[in-house]
Amino acid sequence: MSNSSTKYLQEVANSEYEYGFVSEIESERAPAGINEDIVRFISSKKDEPQWLLDWRLKALKQWESLNEKEAYPRWAHLKYPKIDYQSICYYAAPKQRPALNSLDEVDPEIINTFNRLGIPIEEQKRLSGIAVDVVMDSVSVTTTFKKELAQHGVIFCSFSDAVKEHPELVRKYLGSVVPYTDNFFATLNSAVFSDGSFCYIPPGVRCPMELSTYFRINEAGTGQFERTLIIADEGSHVSYLEGCTAPSRDENQLHAAVVEIIAHKNAEVKYSTIQNWYPGNAEGVGGIYNFVTKRGICLEDHAKISWTQLETGAAITWKYPSVILKGDYSIGEFYSVAFTKGHQQADTGTKMIHMGKGTRSTIISKGISGGFSQNSYRGLVKIQPRADNARNFSQCDSMLLGDRCGAHTFPYLEINNSSAKVEHEATTSKVGEDQIFYCQQRGLSEQDAIKLIVNGFCREILAQLPMEFAVEAQKLLAIELESSVG
């Protein structure tokens, strides 16, 4: 590396977080700590039915019985101090009138917040044709296009509303993909989750627009524990987008979400994430701990679930969006770009569990690491005995920006059926001095050269994102790469 490009890459590693502001919004919050009273408090705030409270309490009991030391995901390539779960506030909500009939009733400061984030909740951008659910701290503040979607029979609302309006659906599917006993963080979420998005696509319906949820942590000292449940009934089709940001703070804030996707026969769900939580400052102080459990199940034949993620934020990212391929000939896909800089750590990948015959999965992961960051791909491909002629293709590429960061690949294969075909390819490269020089020799600045090379490296993943998001994603990558001092 030439001196100047090393310097530039250091600047990249120190670049500033654009979404670090705090909004002055009056909020209501529970006292810090977790116990039965808090769980009951959250449940009563939401006016929940008894069965849901019971479910939460079972989860709490399970969580309390877990020995943190043993139950923790210790295999992850991550380092962080012990989290004091009793110092976290598990419920914070923007104070507002209980029912909102239109966007005009939303606290203007909230609208302002999301406008600053470039999120289309104001009227003119509603024309862009994306239905948005906005979750601030723990509570869903607005869902757009509800009526229009209802005409097609599509239910898209906050999780709390779904509990009230569609309890039979929530009760049937909640915890069916990620049971409350699943893992330490999923169990914690099951006890204290406060809101999230709910989506149901009826049989044969092709959802007429992109559905989108934006998550924003605003309050200090809180955690965010949202739950998303997506059900695609027989022959339906939906594309779902998720975005996340948070203010810059010295403390580490915990985000422990759960996403469950159920795809019935011939249904197709495409789930895209642009994760840009506050990553901490250049010295590694502060930032979001992003411990998320995401899993989908192709319940019946010919179902398809596709995960696409662009992970650029969070001090620590720990997540493995997975697909259980239960139905015969079902398809699972995972496309990921994880970009770490500064002192960020990411341990992310997927699990593809092949149970049905002729099931297929594709995994393409691109890791880019700069600064002092550590970036790991961890993935499991499991072929069960019944899964005749299952196929998997995995490709994991890592790119290093500088020489003090790390890139790691941990592929696990468990194959219990001899007819399976499993391929794995992995590469690690440095942004070549030769590549940068080549671009410069054609007139591009060093910065533009690095952006171009990194964008090229991620192109096949970015191409998987819905159009509007692909543009946003490219911009985000460019901002992330942009140096703070020009």
Partner: protein, 255 residues
């Protein structure tokens, strides 16, 4: 346009001396061939002129249109019309030719005070220049050099030269690894791009290319020094007698 005086260059850190006092003057419209045996410093000269990192300039000056070339960044030199056709063009996976070249062309235009090209005009220019040098149009739809054959990569360099319209083009062993047909195509392209305003420095090991692109001057570089300059007949003489002949002659005159 270019005046190299007493240029001394070593490899950074190792300190190996590669160029030991090169002098060369190039004017608009001229084609200079630099020949020499392997390891004589030909490619180093090209790399130093383009501003590649990893070299120590221990002595000498390079003046480019009155400016100190060695003080300019590589991208600034490129925008100011200095083009290097690489001996080993690198691949840029996932970076489309059109995206790459559009940025390049617009950076150069910006430097010259011209407006950016519209998408339509840019596409037109690409098609026109691809046809000029007989580049397979399907190549411009691919990622830069990715999966290109050796010959395609070299032709792509000449295509980029045609796109960027430099004032000084340096061709670093563009002929190496080309079969006779590819060589003809590449030289046809170069000949079409010759003009009153544009100068070429053609670095080559063999005389072959110079049968197609007739140089105005031929210089022979041995051990980091230009030991002889002449017209195109010098290239033929070298072809007939080999570099050993020159080396031997030099040794004799030294003793």
């Amino acid at each position: 346009m270019l005046r190299i005086e007493n240029l001394h260059v070593s490899i950074e850190e190792e300190g190996t001396r590669i160029l030991r006092g090169v002098n060369l003057e190039v004017n608009a419209g001229e084609v200079h061939a630099i020949m020499g045996p392997n390891g004589s410093g030909k490619s180093t000269l090209a790399a130093v002129l383009a501003g590649k990192a990893g070299y120590d300039i221990t002595d000498g000056t390079v003046e480019y249109f009155g400016k100190d070339l060695l003080e300019m960044n590589p991208d600034e030199r490129a925008r100011d019309g200095l083009f290097l056709a690489f001996q080993y063009p690198v691949e840029l996976p996932g970076v489309s030719m059109s995206n790459f070249l559009r940025q390049a062309v617009n950076r150069v235009r910006e430097y010259r005070g011209q407006d950016e090209l519209s998408a339509v005009d840019f596409l037109k220019l690409m098609k026109e220049r691809a046809a000029l040098i007989n580049l397979d149009p399907s190549l411009i739809k691919r990622s830069v050099n990715e999966g290109f054959s050796g010959g395609e990569k070299k032709r792509n360099e000449i295509f980029q030269l045609a796109m960027l319209e430099p004032r000084l083009a340096i061709l670093d062993e563009t002929d190496s690894g080309l079969d006779i047909d590819a060589m003809r195509t590449v030289s046809d392209g170069v000949n079409k791009l010759r003009s009153e305003e544009r100068a070429f420095i053609i670095i080559t090991h063999y005389q072959r290319l110079l049968e197609y692109v007739i140089p105005d001057f031929v210089h022979v570089l041995v051990d980091g020094v230009i030991v002889r300059s002449g017209d195109k007949s010098l290239a033929l003489e070298l072809e007939a007698q080999g570099y050993d002949w020159l080396k031997k002659e030099l040794a004799e005159s030294a003793s």
